[in-house]
C-alpha cells in the first residue's frame, strides 16, 4: 500500500470515527493542491472564471447576464426541505487541481493521488473491459470542476461522436455550444440554474451526429472534493436526428463536515427520431446520523424532445445528499415524442429529498410515463413532486404516473405532491399513489427463511423498486441494488 493511500485511509478512519461510525463507503479525502479564488460572488469572479477558461466574449456576456438575473432572484422556498440559509458570499466558485496548470498530456502525467481516488471509486481511466468485455464505458471524469482526463475519444470520434469536457467543447465546437446552451434550461429558469449559468466551472458535452447509435455507454463520474467549493457542473447532451445515446452519471463524494452546495444544470436535446437515455446513481455524502454535514444537491435537469418521435428517458437512483432538490423533466414538443421518468429515492437518517419530474405535453400524441418509488427511513423526509401538464394543442396526450412511498420506522415522513393539469379534451391521464410500510408478515417470512433483518429489508425494498431498477443499464443496476441495501443499513432492528 502506498504511503499516500495509507494516509488517506487513516484520514478516512479518523473521520468515520469522528462521525460516529457512520457507514459511508466512499468517505475519504484526497489531498491535492488546489488553485482557489477568494470566497464570494461578484461580476469580477464571473469574469475571472471565464478568463481562466479562455472563453469567448459571447459566453462571458451570457454568464454576466445570468449573474445579473440571479441577483434579482429569490432562493425558492416551496420545496419540502429545511436547511440553514446558504451564504452565497461565503462560497468559493472556482477550484481547479493545481496540477492542471502544467496540463497533463497523458494519464501518466496526472497526479497519482487523483488516480488513486478514481481507483477507489472503481473507475479506471485506462481502457477497460466492463462486465467481462461486454461493453466499454467512456469516462469523462470530473474532479472538482475541471475535467482531467477523457478516454475513448478517438474511438467515439470514428463515429463522429463528440464527448468531451464542456470547456473543450467551448473551444472546439463553439457553434454547437452557442446553438444549444441554455436552449432547454434558460439562464433565468430558476435561482440555482441562474447561479450555475453565471459560474459554471466545467462539465460534459456530448453530441451524437444524425443516424448514429453511440457505440458505447457514456459515463461521467462527478466528485466533490475541496471543502466549501460549490460545484457547478454543466452538462449538455445533443442527439441529432435518428441518433441514440445512453448516458450514465454516477456520483460519490468524500466525507465532509461542512455542507457543500451542488447546483448543476443538465440539458438534453433530442431531435427527430433521436433517443437519449440518461441514468444517474447519486450517492453523495448524506451527512451523519444526526444530519451533520452532507451535500446540498440543487439540480436542474431537463430534456427537450424538440422534434417528432424524439424520446428521452430519465432513470435515477438517489441515495445520497443531505438535501435533494431535483426534478428531471421532459418537454414533449415534437409530435409523438415520449418522455419517461423512473426514480428511486431513498432517504435515511436526517436526509431530505424533494424530487420528482415534470412532463410538459406540447406536441400531438405525446406520451409520458412516471414511475417513482420513495423510501423513507430514520428521521428522513422524502417528497415526490411532479407535474403533468397537457397543453390545449396537445391532442392525444397520454400519461401514466405511479408514485409509491414506503415508510420504514415511525419517525420518517413521506409526501406526494402531484400537479395534474389537463387542457385538452383527448388527454388521458392516470395517476396512482400509495403509501405503505414493510409489513411485519413480510419481515417475519424472510427472517424465518434465515435472512437477518437488514437483508430482509434490502430484499423487500429491492422488490419494491424493481420496476425502476430494471430500466437501469446493467452495470448500474448491480451497483444500485447494493446501494439500496447499504443506504438502509441501520434502519431496522
Amino acid at each position: 500500500m502506498s504511503e499516500a493511500k495509507a494516509s488517506i485511509d487513516k484520514d478516512t478512519v479518523d473521520q468515520v470515527a469522528k462521525f460516529g461510525g457512520e457507514h459511508y463507503k466512499y468517505g475519504f479525502t484526497t489531498e491535492i493542491d488546489v488553485d482557489k479564488i477568494p470566497n464570494g460572488l461578484s461580476e469580477d469572479i464571473v469574469r475571472f472564471i471565464s478568463a481562466k477558461k479562455e472563453e469567448p466574449q459571447w459566453l462571458l456576456d451570457w454568464r454576466l447576464d445570468a449573474y445579473e438575473r440571479w441577483k434579482s432572484m429569490d432562493e425558492p422556498d416551496w420545496a419540502h426541505v429545511d436547511y440553514p440559509k446558504i451564504d452565497y458570499q461565503d462560497l468559493c466558485y472556482y477550484a481547479a487541481p493545481k496540477s492542471m496548470e502544467d496540463g497533463p498530456k497523458s494519464l501518466d502525467e496526472v497526479n497519482p493521488q487523483l488516480l488513486e481516488t478514481y481507483s477507489k471509486l472503481g473507475i479506471s481511466l485506462q481502457e477497460q473491459e466492463v462486465l467481462a468485455g461486454v461493453k466499454k464505458i467512456a469516462v469523462d471524469a470530473v474532479f472538482d470542476s475541471v475535467s482531467v482526463g477523457t478516454t475513448f475519444r478517438e474511438e467515439l470520434a470514428k463515429d463522429g461522436v463528440i464527448f468531451c469536457s464542456f470547456s473543450e467543447a467551448v473551444q472546439e465546437h463553439p457553434e454547437l455550444v452557442k446553438k444549444y446552451l441554455g436552449s432547454v434550461v434558460p439562464k433565468s429558469d430558476n435561482y440555482f440554474a441562474a447561479l450555475n449559468s453565471a459560474v459554471f466551472s466545467d462539465g460534459s458535452f456530448c453530441y451524437i451526429p444524425p443516424g448514429v447509435k453511440c457505440p458505447m455507454e457514456l459515463s461521467t463520474y462527478f466528485r466533490i472534493n475541496e471543502a466549501n467549493t460549490g460545484q457547478f457542473e454543466r452538462t449538455l447532451v445533443i442527439a441529432d436526428k435518428g441518433a441514440y445515446v445512453s448516458y450514465l452519471e454516477g456520483c460519490t463524494a468524500p466525507m465532509r463536515d461542512e455542507n457543500q452546495l451542488h447546483a448543476a444544470v443538465v440539458e438534453l436535446v433530442a431531435l427527430e427520431d433521436a433517443e437519449i437515455k440518461y441514468s444517474t446513481v447519486q450517492n453523495w455524502y448524506p451527512g451523519d446520523k444526526d444530519g451533520k454535514g452532507g451535500i446540498y444537491n440543487f439540480v436542474t435537469k431537463r430534456g427537450d424532445c424538440r422534434e417528432a418521435r424524439a424520446r428521452i428517458s430519465w432513470t435515477q437512483v438517489e441515495t445520497g445528499s443531505a438535501v435533494t432538490w431535483k426534478y428531471p423533466s421532459c418537454i414533449l414538443r415534437g409530435d409523438d415524442s415520449v418522455g419517461e421518468f423512473y426514480s428511486i429515492a431513498i432517504s435515511n437518517n436526517m436526509q431530505q429529498v424533494d424530487s420528482g419530474t415534470k412532463m410538459l405535453h406540447l406536441g400531438k400524441n405525446t406520451s409520458s410515463r412516471i414511475i417513482s418509488k420513495g423510501i423513507s427511513a430514520g428521521r428522513s423526509s422524502n417528497a415526490y413532486r411532479g407535474q403533468v401538464n397537457v397543453h390545449p394543442k396537445a391532442a392525444g396526450a397520454r400519461n401514466f404516473t405511479q408514485c409509491d412511498s414506503l415508510l420504514i420506522g415511525d419517525k420518517c415522513a413521506a409526501h406526494t405532491v402531484p400537479y395534474i393539469e389537463a387542457k385538452n379534451l383527448s388527454a388521458v391521464l392516470e395517476h396512482e399513489a400509495t403509501t405503505s410500510k414493510i409489513s411485519d408478515d413480510q419481515l417475519f417470512f424472510c427472517q424465518q427463511r434465515g435472512l437477518d433483518p437488514e437483508e430482509a429489508v434490502a430484499l423487500i425494498v429491492n422488490g419494491f423498486c424493481r420496476d425502476v431498477l430494471q430500466h437501469l443499464p446493467m452495470e448500474f443496476a448491480v451497483e444500485a441494488q447494493k446501494l439500496v441495501g447499504i443506504s438502509l443499513e441501520g434502519s431496522v432492528g
Partner: protein
C-alpha cells in the same frame, strides 16, 4: 368585487359583536388582499379574474318538499325566520370578529352580518336546509354543533346570484353523525368549512356544483380523536365558463381515523374543474386509512381539469392512496350503448348522468338523492352538449 372598506362603513352600524375587532380583521384582510394565483392554495383559481365574470346560470328550485324539511333562509344576508323544532337550539347570531390567518376568513370576520348558530341534539328526523338567496354580496358565518350521539342532515343550498363568502364551523361531538349536502348552481362563492370531529364522529359531505363563475369550496377536516371518519364527495357539472374548485385539507391528527374522498368532474365548453386534496397523517396517528379519488370527464375542447392530490405522511403504519384519472367520454361505452339501440345523445346523457350518480349514490336518504337527481337531469338536458334525440 365590492369595495370592502366602504361596504364596511355602510353596514357597520348594523353589525353585531365587537365592531372594533371587526375593523382590525378588515384591515388585516385589506392588507393581504384577496388571494392571488401566487399563493399555492389558489394556484388554479384566479379570484379577481373570476369575480369579474358575469354568471348566467339558471337557478332551478330543488324540490325538497317531500322531505318536510326545517328551513333557514338567508335572503340577501339576513335570516328570514329561525327554524323551530325540538332537538335544534338556535342562538342569535353573535360574532367576535377574531382575526384569522387568511384574507378570505378575515373578510368574513369583518363583514359577516348573519349566520345560523344551532346546536343539534338527538336524532333530527327532518333535514335542516340553509338556503342562501338574493342578488347582493353577502358574508355569512354559520356555526353548527352536533351534541354527542346526535344525528342530522344539513343542506347548504346556495341560490344566490351574487358574491357569497360563507363560513361554516361544524363541530361533531363524540359519536355524532352528520350528512352535509351542498349545492351551488350559480353566482360567485368562496366557502370555507372548518370541520372538527370528536371520537367516533362521522361526517359525510356530498357536494354538487352545476354552475357559477366561481365556486370555491374549501373544507378543513380535523380528526381529533380515534374512530372519527369522514367522507367527502363532490360532483361538478361544468359548462360555459364555470369554475369549480374543491380544496380539502384532511388532517388525521389521531390514530384509527379514516377518510374517503372522491371528486367527479364533467367539464363541457370552457369549464374548469379544480381539485386540491391534501391528506395529512400526523406523527403517531397510526392505522389511518385515507383514500382519495379524482375523476374528470372532458366533453369539449377548451375544458380544463387541474388536480393536485397530496399526501403528507408522518406515521408508518397507514394505508393511504390517491388516484386520478382524466379523459374524454369513454368511446367504448358509448359504442356499447349505441349498439343497444340508444341514440348518440341519449347514450351520452346516460354516461354523464351515470358518472355523476357515483357521487349522488352516497346519499342515504332516497328522497334527498332523488331531489338532486332531478336537478342533475334538468341541468344535463337543458344545458349540456349531450342532449338531443333522447
Amino acid at each position: 368585487m365590492l369595495d370592502a372598506q366602504s361596504y364596511f362603513d355602510r353596514i357597520s352600524g348594523d353589525l353585531s359583536g365587537d365592531v372594533k375587532a371587526r375593523a382590525v380583521a378588515l384591515a388585516a384582510a385589506e392588507a393581504a388582499g384577496l388571494p392571488t394565483r401566487r399563493q399555492e392554495a389558489w394556484h388554479y383559481t384566479d379570484v379577481a379574474r373570476l369575480l369579474s365574470k358575469a354568471t348566467h346560470d339558471t337557478l332551478h328550485n330543488i324540490d325538497f318538499a317531500p322531505l318536510n324539511p326545517l328551513m333557514a333562509v338567508f335572503d340577501n344576508g339576513r335570516l328570514l325566520a329561525a327554524p323551530q323544532a325540538s332537538g335544534v337550539a338556535v342562538s342569535p347570531f353573535h360574532h367576535d370578529g377574531a382575526t384569522a390567518d387568511n384574507a378570505v376568513l378575515n373578510y368574513n370576520a369583518a363583514l359577516a352580518q348573519d349566520g345560523l348558530t344551532a346546536e343539534i341534539s338527538g336524532d333530527l328526523a327532518q333535514p335542516l336546509i340553509v338556503t342562501t338567496q338574493g342578488d347582493a354580496p353577502v358574508h355569512l358565518h354559520h356555526k353548527i354543533t352536533l351534541a354527542p350521539q346526535a344525528k342530522a342532515v344539513l343542506v347548504d343550498n346556495h341560490m344566490s346570484r351574487d358574491y357569497t363568502n360563507a363560513r361554516f364551523d361544524i363541530a361533531l361531538g363524540a359519536g355524532a353523525e352528520l350528512t352535509l349536502i351542498r349545492v351551488q348552481q350559480a353566482g360567485h362563492q368562496i366557502g370555507t368549512s372548518e370541520i372538527m370531529l370528536a371520537e367516533g364522529a362521522q361526517i359525510k359531505t356530498v357536494a354538487l356544483v352545476t354552475g357559477g363563475a366561481l365556486a370555491r369550496h374549501e373544507a378543513n377536516v380535523a380528526f381529533t380523536a380515534r374512530g372519527a371518519h369522514a367522507e367527502l364527495h363532490s360532483a361538478v357539472l361544468g359548462r360555459g365558463e364555470n369554475h369549480a374548485d374543491f380544496t380539502y385539507l384532511i388532517d388525521h391528527q389521531a390514530a384509527d381515523t379514516s377518510s374517503n374522498t372522491s371528486a367527479y368532474n364533467v367539464l363541457d365548453a370552457a369549464a374548469r374543474g379544480v381539485f386540491q386534496g391534501k391528506i395529512i397523517v400526523r406523527k403517531d396517528a397510526q392505522h389511518v386509512d385515507a383514500q382519495m379519488q379524482t375523476r374528470a370527464m372532458m366533453l369539449s375542447e377548451g375544458a380544463e381539469m387541474d388536480a393536485k392530490p397530496e399526501l403528507e405522511i408522518y406515521a408508518d403504519d397507514v394505508a393511504c392512496a390517491h388516484g386520478s384519472a382524466i379523459g374524454e367520454l369513454d368511446k367504448d361505452a358509448l359504442f356499447f350503448l349505441r349498439s343497444r339501440g340508444l341514440g348518440e345523445a341519449s347514450a351520452r346523457y346516460l354516461l354523464v348522468a351515470g358518472f355523476i350518480e357515483q357521487v349522488l349514490a352516497h346519499i342515504d336518504n332516497d328522497a334527498m338523492a332523488d331531489a338532486l337527481r332531478a336537478l342533475v337531469a334538468q341541468k344535463i338536458a337543458a344545458q349540456f352538449s349531450v342532449q338531443g334525440d333522447a
